[in-house]
Amino acid sequence: MSVDPNKIKAVFLKAIEQCEPGKWHDFLAAACEGDAILQRRVEVLLEAHMGEDSLFDAQVFEAFSTVDQPPLEKPGSQIGPYKLLQQIGEGGMGTVFLAEQHEPVQRKVALKVIKPGMDTRQVIARFDAERQALSLMDHPNIAKVLDAGTTDYGRPYFVMELVKGQPITKYCDEHQLTTRQRLELFVSACHAIQHAHQKGIIHRDIKPSNVLVAEYDDRPVCKVIDFGVAKALNQPLTEKSMFTGLGQILGTLEYMSPEQAKVNQLDIDTRSDVYSLGVLLYELLTGTTPFNKQRLGSAAWDEMLRIIREEEPPKPSTRLSDSQDSLPSISASRHTEPAKLTKLVRGELDWIVMKALEKDRGRRYETANGFAMDIQRYLSDEPVQACPPSKLYRFRKFARKHKAVVGTASAALLILLLGIAGLAVSNSLIRNEQTKTMALADQLKARADELKLVSDFQAGMLKQVDPTAAGMLLTADVQAKLAAALAKANVPEAERTQRLGVFTAEWKNVNATDAARELIDRTILRPAVEAIDKQFADQPLIDAQLRQVLADRYWDLGLLDAALRLQERALATRRRILGDEHPETLNSINHLCTLLWGQDKLNEAEAYCREAIQKCRNVLGEEHVETLDAINNMGLVLQAQGKLVDAEKYFRDVVEKSRHVLGADHPDTLEKINNLGTLLLDQSKLSEAEPYFREVLAKRQRVLGDQHIRTVNSTNNLGVLLKNQGKLNEAEPYLREALVMYRRVLGEEHPTTLVAIHNMGTLLLFQGKLGEAEPYFRETVEQFRRVLGAEHSNTLNSIGTLGNFLRQQGKLSEAEPYCREAVETGRRVYGDENPLTLRSIRNLGTLLFAQGRMDEAESCFKEAVEKSRRALGAEHSETLNNIMALGMLLQAKGMCEESVELLDPIVAISRKTFVLGNLFRLARLLTILGKAHLGLREFTNAEANLLQAQAIFEKSPSPEPSLARDCIQALVELYTAWNAAEPSKGYDVKAVEWKAKLDDISQPATESVPENQQTDQANKK
């Protein structure tokens, strides 16, 4: 017998809400009116309600259940000697009341009751530990914490001097204080903090809501509140604390120093407060915090902390000029005009704020007082300390000032020359110092450090040289100059417009990015190499370092040969001076590996990789980044050599270690995950690769932005994957986007751009848009040959693809030289068992077959089958394609039994392998099998195979229409033959029907085969 659940619930709730537990029994007896089952059920619930043996751990459950209680302390409550009068505020941590104290003195105070969830005893114990120090504080700008204790409900509370004020930022805005007035007010806050620091108290939670401004005698006076509270609460920085009140913790995060933004924030000193004061000043000047809620809030937890620890915020003046929309209102609330405000802040105030915000606390103001004094210097027009007038400082300052124009070749050259000049100066200093006494050793080391700084800085500068931007500037420059010249020559306006138009049209034939790249090489990189030759003849290590930097830049620009030469020399120098096992030598080996890999000099690269891995492990340990790079390089080399199984081991190893050592969102980790995805792609483990690619793309979009080259790589890779999965329409936007971005960012000739062109061609081919595809294929062959040389795997791939493509078009003799070249180069350079070579061999076989040269074709196919089984495994899609080709040939030769024997066993695995856009391959297999059965006069089997194939073609058209025609042709032949064998069973009708269908398809059937060479490449980096 069942009881209405609603009734149970009603009685249960009534018992709880209206009765004390002691009276439940009587209540139930009355309420259930003799319904024993109802009564029993409610009793069970009440028992469970009282019990602690819940599904939740009792302790956890209690902590949470208290959250559900309404605040227990309300106006009117008595807490110790304090009587709550009214609630005056509510923050993330607790509720603030106005309270009255009678004993020992009568006064009004602010009383803050902390929200539940803290261990009250510990809070109070920590507060007591600071009580003595707190009581020593006595400063007009500090609101004293008077007392702390535990409420009757077990929650901690703090009693403070009552301040009727507003947060400083709000006060300043509402009263439209000028920048000067703000600074003056801020200085008094610094003095308050300084006073506390002298008494040994660190505030730890400086933010506007803790720096209040109240008016006394019509003058604004700043009061810092909550001293000792943050420490007593000692909120550990965990994701959980974040989610207990996201908005509130964000509010705190914005002001948190980098050292506080560590999970284990043990090491905090007074300079953390200096940092938070810096954030506060930043906000007072600009209206926003360096990393505002929006920036932080859009990031994941770890990322937020990383931003605080690592990211360099924009200078206040930059922030102001960036905030175009809100600048008028920001300025208005500072009683200033927008332009004036930015100008006012730029310069010394920027430097003062940025010094307080240094990530390295050793570079911040030592004390809050130092900070205040510098502001006072600014206010009285004295030179501020924040701009130490060192040579390096001035140099950096100059360079930074010109950073905006570094896009142009001339400005970049300027920077570079400055860099070299800077080095020369420091260099001569070193030499001078060296001749002096050894007591100057420290000074010498400082000089060397400075030198290192300059060269790092220079490397950073060069990295920003972007051929695309330079190309665009070049275009704009040339056009402007021409326009000016024409105007100066008094050319009539109509003619001027016309001539400019013609010029602009002509100019479009020049790839400005390529032009800029050449220009950069000629005007910057080459002179830089020469400068290094001259300047550092007797400083071999600096020479090596700079050469390696330049090698990287050449590599970035796609000028591989030049990169390799520089890198080899850098390595040789380091080996000679530092020895084979020095970390810098190992670093050079890793760089060289990457370059050799990029040029497909794989055997050489492999040898270096092995050396690097072994030495890195010995010298630097398993988890050092250099070791990770070495393992990664090894994976790349093995992958390029076609040793996929081995490569997978290296990649999986390095991905796991990188996640662990660098973190899951670290750009280097993402690079390694991408490589693993690429390898899985090579192995046709498409669904395994997909999550990796998507993860990397999403993270790069978030961390690096859409325009970053790495993000573009990811876009390309995901496109290739989707295409290989047969999701052609889904793939297209990714591949198009990638191509557009590569052309824009890397230029027309960059190897990666060429890969993207190729990928696009393959997609069009798969979509059956042959006419559109052809120019893509021809372009890639030509360009690859020129840029990478005839032996590069990309060149080889593109040649094979073009040959295959021409063959499909029926241009057999035109195709042959391409197909042959691919096989010959493949065998010579990569060996017979490389997947690339094997595919080229099959393609050649297919061509020979189309030409009717059966024996030659057969030996190609047999070789491809045998070697792919061994090298790629029996179930690899390439192996299946090879088997299919051989089966087709056997069938065509009339060896139908052999053909069936060969093909039957791969039907099951092919059903799994060839799905979506690759379904036509399965249909092709079934067609061949059907034809073979027909040849054996096994009509029923043949019919089953062919109808199935036909159904697949209907549903999922092949990129080669001839394949579907071939299938229908076979059906016609089947029914004709069947009718001859068993007349009057209606097979003649079916034959006629299929014949009609065949005639419908206008083009004549030609013998063709399903292979399209898939040569998509995913970029490695």
Partner: protein
């Protein structure tokens, strides 16, 4: 505007089909986040369910200028709770299998999420019990789900489900007792 934000505003403007689109998106995101976490963490560590849900919220809906209204967020968290329930129960079942197979599983006790301290057996049992409760009292079981699996406070849960605080509190009290009784029987 992210997909999820768009769907949320569609739901708000009364498009009934929009709600169906939400769950798979949220599920997918949570699953990915969970997988990424599990991949990073040492074997045996439990998922921080509520942290994941909030992270998913930030990722999918963002923390843009315009605060989502609570009603709006409520739909998200209801979907997230359901998604998280599926994930957690899946994980728990898998762990059950591991434990029963003799594998070693260590649970992280530092985490204070309601559920992460529960053993896989408890989670699976809870899920079964919740399914039973849903038959009798779907309002109460919805509330439990959103609290346990999306980690919302009672007030937030009430707002999300469009309940008054008082009735949310009553549902919760009842559901808690009901589930405790149900689980004690096992």
């Amino acid at each position: 505007m992210s997909d999820v934000t768009r769907i949320l505003s569609q739901i708000e403007s009364g498009d009934p089909s929009a709600a169906e689109q939400l769950l798979p998106l949220v599920y997918e995101e949570l699953r990915k986040l969970a997988a990424a976490r599990l991949a990073q963490e040492k074997p045996g560590q439990t998922l921080q369910a509520t942290a994941l849900v909030h992270e998913a919220y930030l990722k999918l809906v963002g923390n843009g200028e315009r605060e989502q209204s609570w009603d709006n967020r409520g739909h998200f968290f209801a979907a997230a709770a359901e998604a998280m329930r599926r994930i957690l129960v899946d994980v728990a079942r898998r762990k059950q299998a591991e434990i029963h197979g003799g594998g070693q599983v260590r649970f992280d006790l530092e985490d204070a999420d309601l559920l992460s301290r529960a053993s896989p057996d408890r989670i699976v049992a809870l899920d079964d019990a919740l399914a039973k409760l849903a038959v009798e009292d779907s309002a109460a079981s919805d509330l439990v789900k959103i609290r346990l699996f999306a980690g919302l406070s009672l007030e937030e849960s009430a707002a999300a489900l469009g309940l008054s605080r008082a009735s949310a509190y009553r549902h919760w009290t009842y559901a808690r007792a009901w589930l405790c009784a149900e689980l004690a029987d096992r």
